[in-house]
């Protein structure tokens, strides 16, 4: 019973990931793609726990899930910081000066 439930949840998660993968391919902005990658990474942690339930080894697979969630978080933060800095320094200074003039 529990095993069939775990198999059902895994297959359903995998099927529902397909629209999110579509957003990775077709997202207009890079932020859309990064958001979809973030969603998939979080769901992979759940999928790892499901695989652990199927193999009766949850204690081992939970550690993998922790590591994967940590890696996902770090990658999201790093990419958002990186995308934030893609404008050149001169543009940034001009923007800050414009903000100062407005206020």
């Amino acid at each position: 019973m529990i095993e069939y439930f775990a198999i059902f949840m895994g297959v359903a998660l995998f099927v529902l990931m397909i629209p999110v993968v579509y957003r990775i391919g077709a997202g207009p902005t890079p932020f859309d793609r990064m958001l979809a990658v973030n969603v998939i990474g979080t769901k992979t942690a759940v999928l790892l726990v499901i695989i652990g339930t199927l193999f009766n080894r949850v204690d081992m697979f939970v550690d993998f899930a922790i590591a994967y969630a940590l890696l996902n978080f770090v990658s999201a933060i790093v990419v958002s910081r990186y995308l934030n800095r893609t404008i050149s320094l001169d543009e940034m200074e001009a923007k800050e000066n414009a903000k100062k003039i407005k206020s």
Binding site: M1, I2, E3, Y4, F5, A6, M9, A12, L13, L16, M17, P19, V20, Y22, R23, A26, P28, T29, F31, D32, M34, L35, A36, N38, V39, T42, K43, A45, V46, V49, I50, G52, T53, L54, F55, N56, V58, D59, V62, A65, I66, A69, L70, N72, F73, A76, I77, S80, R81, L83, N84, T86, I87
Partner: protein, 137 residues
């Protein structure tokens, strides 16, 4: 059902043969997992249907966090077959993952939103809808 013939992984086939009816705790875990799946359906539909980056982020950030927490709690309850020390340890480990995701998932969403806003990605307004060639990418 002869599932052991179709599944070639021996450990999996062994665990499939020993099926038993779920305890009340496991039944509650199954309910939580199905509720999480419902929220993830909302996330998947929102990622396709919404027209704007910020609305998509609304769908993804909220639905993803809540569905992940519900599903992990559900599987934490499902993996508790007895009330021994090891089961409790495992349950608290999974609850640690839930706490971690509860903290980090909104944080990364916020960082992405801030990066997009500072990169001059403007939210969709009514003017964009009235334009003949609206951004329907």
């Amino acid at each position: 059902m002869s599932l052991d013939q179709t599944i070639f992984i021996p450990v999996l086939a062994e665990s499939l043969q020993t099926t038993s009816s779920p305890t009340p705790l496991q039944f509650f875990g199954i309910l939580l997992g199905l509720l999480g799946l419902f929220f993830f359906v909302g996330t998947a539909v929102g990622m396709i249907r919404f027209p704007d980056f910020y609305t998509r982020m609304h769908a993804a950030g909220k639905g993803d966090t809540l569905s992940t927490m519900l599903m992990l709690s559900g599987f934490g309850l499902v993996s508790m077959e007895d009330l021994s020390m090891g089961s409790w340890l495992l349950f608290f480990k999974i609850m640690g993952v839930v706490l971690f995701i509860f903290i980090t998932c909104p944080t990364s969403s916020h960082a992405l939103m801030r990066a997009a806003f500072e990169d001059d990605e403007m939210p969709m307004t009514e003017k964009d809808l009235k334009k003949p060639s609206a951004k329907k990418k």
